[in-house]
């Protein structure tokens, strides 16, 4: 037994993997349904598990590059493509608003949802607002150019900068 804030009791590998899968499904479904990425306390409550176990599951998912944790507090920064905090990359799909951590993820939100979406993003240089629109799984309106600053094999060296 553990307290809700206590250390996670050792779990067998299959049990840990099963929990990580449950956490993954819950986090991404919730993010897609609500536009908000759930955090550890919320996930623990929803799944009826100690928060320490949820933290371990999130660490496992982060190690597998399934999602990204904030540097210091164990919260989810991005269940990519869904960013947990408002950003300049805003996606409107139906009645919901989502945020991506970059233009790739903003487009990825429309792809993951499989819905029409309007993406608003600022020019990285001057901040001028730009708009892209996905309709029927195609880019129906676009402007600008996407720039990748980091070569592909270094993307995960510093995913925040990438």
């Amino acid at each position: 037994m553990t307290g809700r804030e206590g250390r996670a009791a050792p779990m067998t590998v299959p049990a840990a993997e099963a929990l990580a899968r449950d956490v993954r499904l819950y986090v991404f479904r919730r993010a897609a349904e609500s536009g908000r990425v759930p955090q550890p306390a919320h996930i623990a409550q929803a799944l009826g598990r100690p928060q320490a176990e949820i933290h371990e599951a999130l660490k496992q998912l982060a190690a597998g590059k399934v999602l990204i944790l904030a540097p210091n507090d164990g919260n989810v920064w991005a269940a990519n493509p869904f960013c947990a905090v408002p950003s300049g990359f805003r996606v409107q799909a139906g009645e919901k608003t989502y945020w991506g951590i970059c233009i790739w993820d903003a487009l990825g939100i429309a792809a993951a949802l499989g819905k029409d979406a309007v993406i608003r993003a600022p020019c990285g240089d001057c901040g001028a607002p730009m708009r892209l629109e996905v309709r029927n799984s195609r880019l129906a309106h676009s402007e600008g150019i996407i720039h990748f600053a980091v070569p592909a094999h270094h993307w995960w060296d510093n995913i925040g900068f990438t």
Binding site: I103, L107, C123, M130, L132, H147, T162
Partner: protein
């Protein structure tokens, strides 16, 4: 990955940060890459792409060359 109004704005952004220019994609390439990358992310059976799958996915969008080499040095 940022969106810029045009090439001049990319050059200015890189210069201000003393960064080498990276690689550019058209928005349509960006959409096709994002779609291939994320279209299954909500599915229960989702798993990360293998290295080979990722290479194929980049190639399908027309992204080739050293910048897109996932194996690196």
């Amino acid at each position: 990955m940022l969106l810029f109004r045009d090439e001049e704005h990319i050059d200015r952004w890189c210069s201000a940060r003393d960064l080498s220019r990276g690689a550019t994609l058209t928005p349509d390439q960006g959409w096709r890459l994002a779609h291939a990358w994320y279209k299954d992310k909500l599915r229960p059976e989702w798993r990360r792409h293998t290295l080979e799958e990722t290479e194929a996915l980049l190639a399908d969008v027309g992204l080739a060359g050293a910048f897109w080499d996932l194996r690196g040095e």
